[in-house]
């Protein structure tokens, strides 16, 4: 309560003088900043995607623009995706859903020139961007660099269902499933044929053993 000590007459007025002095000092700084460049951006009118686009606009501030490695909405390049499910397992909140089927074996160069082998194709690759927290943990272990961040950060959608990004179209999924069925039947046939030849060979060998 009574925390302020009693001041002498001189100290009392000294404090008033220094209070006014420091106040005007602060006000001079505030006044000086009136003439500074405007640092804020008229967002939808100005393209903030890079430093270059910012420079071309009317903006004169010091904003750096979006960097190259900005972590926006996830995008998936299905041409190089091997449907290995590593991203699905790495996601801490399970916002990625993938189902895969067998496909024709394919070799290509993935991230940092590493050879990648595709044996499976995705029939469903859904990312719920309503759940996604853009942590980037799915991007780091991806062996081919198929899943990556885009620079898109505007994600207004009309409904909750539209928040789920579906990367595999139903046609593609049907194609992959049909091919998988073919592969399976081929493999089953091969297996059956192999079993047959094995059995025949065994049958040939067995009489010898008896003799």
């Amino acid at each position: 309560m009574n925390r302020k000590p009693r001041l002498s007459f001189k100290a009392y007025f000294g404090q008033i003088v220094s209070g006014v002095q420091t106040m005007f000092e602060g006000m001079s700084i505030s006044l000086a900043s009136t003439f500074l460049k405007v640092q804020t951006v008229e967002y939808p009118d100005v393209d903030i995607s890079s430093r270059e686009s910012l420079r071309q606009s009317t903006y004169k501030g010091n904003m750096a623009g979006m960097p190259e490695n900005y972590r926006g909405i996830l995008k998936v390049d299905l041409d190089i995706c091997t449907a290995c499910l590593i991203c699905m397992k790495a996601c801490p909140i399970d916002c990625i859903a993938i189902t895969n089927v067998k496909c024709d074996k394919r070799k290509f160069n993935g991230k940092s020139g590493k050879a990648a082998v595709q044996t499976r194709a995705a029939t469903r690759f859904d990312i719920d961007i309503g759940k996604c927290m853009f942590c980037g943990l799915c991007v780091i272990p991806c062996p081919t660099g198929a899943i990556a961040h885009s620079k898109i950060f505007e994600m207004n959608r009309g409904s909750l269902a539209e928040l789920v990004e579906r990367f595999v179209t139903p046609e593609q999924a049907a194609k992959h499933e049909a091919r998988a069925l073919e592969i399976e039947t081929e493999e089953a046939e091969k297996k059956a044929a192999k079993a047959k030849t094995d059995a025949e060979a065994k049958a040939k060998v067995e009489p010898k053993g008896e003799a």
């Binding site: 309560m1 925390r3 302020k4 404090q15 220094s18 209070g19 002095q21 420091t22 106040m23 000092e25 602060g26 700084i29 505030s30 900043s33 640092q39 010091n62 904003m63 750096a64 979006m66 960097p67 190259e68 490695n69 900005y70 972590r71 590593i86 397992k89 790495a90 996601c91 801490p92 927290m133 853009f134 942590c135 980037g136 943990l137 780091i140 272990p141 961040h149």
Partner: protein
């Protein structure tokens, strides 16, 4: 005529109060303007992060530590990954350590800027807050350049950092420091050295050394009481033992030792020390790998592991109880805001309601870190 019957009035400050810095409620018994009892009521921002982590992979916990203390997500990341690195005994590459120190100190500056700015704003000076937020944008840009995010970085990984720094980043940091050094001094002239502001903050709610120890205060709140305690110096982790920096303590800058103005000044002095550390790191930054080899699925040993680190809120600890599985059996987070708020009943007796705002501001309480 009999004596007039009087009684104390109980009022609520918060949970939706602009000066409680988040969703905290204070139950105050007042006699006119004077506080007789002040009891903090916490838990409005409880997200049960500690429980959620029991179902996550060791790497998957890192983005959740961002949300523990969003004002210094890098330091929160750091505190957690250090505990895991201790557990699986992995050596972090030297370059990664220096990058960690740099992003950690940059984040400390930006966190202290918010602390200083909001305290100024609570005291009625709105301009410094806006000006400090403008300067903070530079740090946000710098951290966005390395991590790709502006607030919840998820930049530190177990055994290193996730991405290497861009080519001209060190140059950009130096450019920022050259700009920021005089800007911070200007900010001090704007508000910190203002006689009205000093008189408002000085001699208010002083915390003695003994009281600070009793309530287990940490970080700038403890240093404001004149105790030279800093985890970076007491238990040096990372490369802090090689760096040269001071530990600023409260010396009674405005009046008594340990008052609100001391706690406020300690933060300002700490920003200067952070700038000093950053300048050293720019010179010492080595070349080399940024990530130690860590398996995708970590299989840790059984046992318990504890790491301490100095975040802007003070000594933050992560305690891991591991049963050898792919996720922790129990993860306990010890935060500086919690002890910071628990001292408010002890120091706010007899002060005015308007002064309680200054006390909360000077203790730098961050609600999400308080409740987790």
């Amino acid at each position: 005529m009999g004596k007039l019957r009087t009684e104390l009035m109980t009022i609520n400050m918060g949970p939706q109060h602009p000066s409680t810095h988040g969703v905290i409620r204070f139950i105050i018994d007042t006699d006119g303007e004077v506080i007789h009892r002040c009891e903090p009521d916490v838990g409005y921002l409880h997200r049960s992060i500690e429980k959620i982590t029991e179902h996550l992979s060791w790497q998957g916990i890192v983005p959740f530590t961002d949300r523990v203390d969003y004002l210094c997500a890098m330091n929160s990341n750091w505190a957690y990954v250090m505990a895991v690195e201790k557990m699986i005994a992995v050596e972090v590459p030297r370059r990664a350590e220096f990058i960690r120190v740099m992003v950690g100190e940059l984040n400390r500056i930006s966190s202290h800027m918010i602390a200083i700015g909001t305290t100024d704003m609570d005291m009625g000076a709105f301009t410094p807050f806006i000006q400090l937020l403008r300067e903070r944008e530079y740090i946000n840009d710098l951290l966005e350049m390395v991590s790709g995010a502006r607030l919840t970085y998820n930049y530190l990984s177990i055994g290193g950092v996730n991405y290497d720094i861009p080519r001209n980043w060190l140059f950009k940091v130096e450019e920022f420091l050259n700009h920021f050094d005089p800007a911070m001094e200007q900010m001090n002239r704007l508000c910190t050295y203002n006689r009205i502001f000093i008189n408002r903050m000085a001699n208010l709610a002083p915390i003695s050394k003994e009281l600070a120890f009793d309530y287990n205060l940490v970080g700038p709140n403890l240093r404001g009481s004149g105790v030279k305690s800093d985890v970076r110096r007491d238990q040096p982790y990372s490369v802090y033992s090689e760096l040269d920096f001071e530990i600023p303590v409260g010396e009674g800058f405005g009046g008594e030792v340990g008052d609100c103005y001391d706690r406020f000044m300690v933060r300002i002095l700490e920003v200067r020390e952070s700038i000093k550390i950053l300048r050293q790191c720019i010179k010492m930054m080595p070349e080399g790998p940024i990530q130690a080899k860590v398996k995708n699925t970590i299989k840790p040993p059984e046992g318990h592991f504890y790491s301490r680190s100095e975040t802007p809120r003070g000594d933050t600890g992560y305690f891991i109880e591991s049963s050898g599985g792919t996720s922790p059996y129990r993860l306990k987070i010890r935060s500086g805001s919690f002890t910071g708020i628990s001292i408010t009943p002890a120091i706010s007796k007899g002060i005015l309601i308007a002064d309680l705002v200054a006390v909360i501001g000077s203790l730098d309480i961050v609600a999400p870190e308080l409740d987790r």
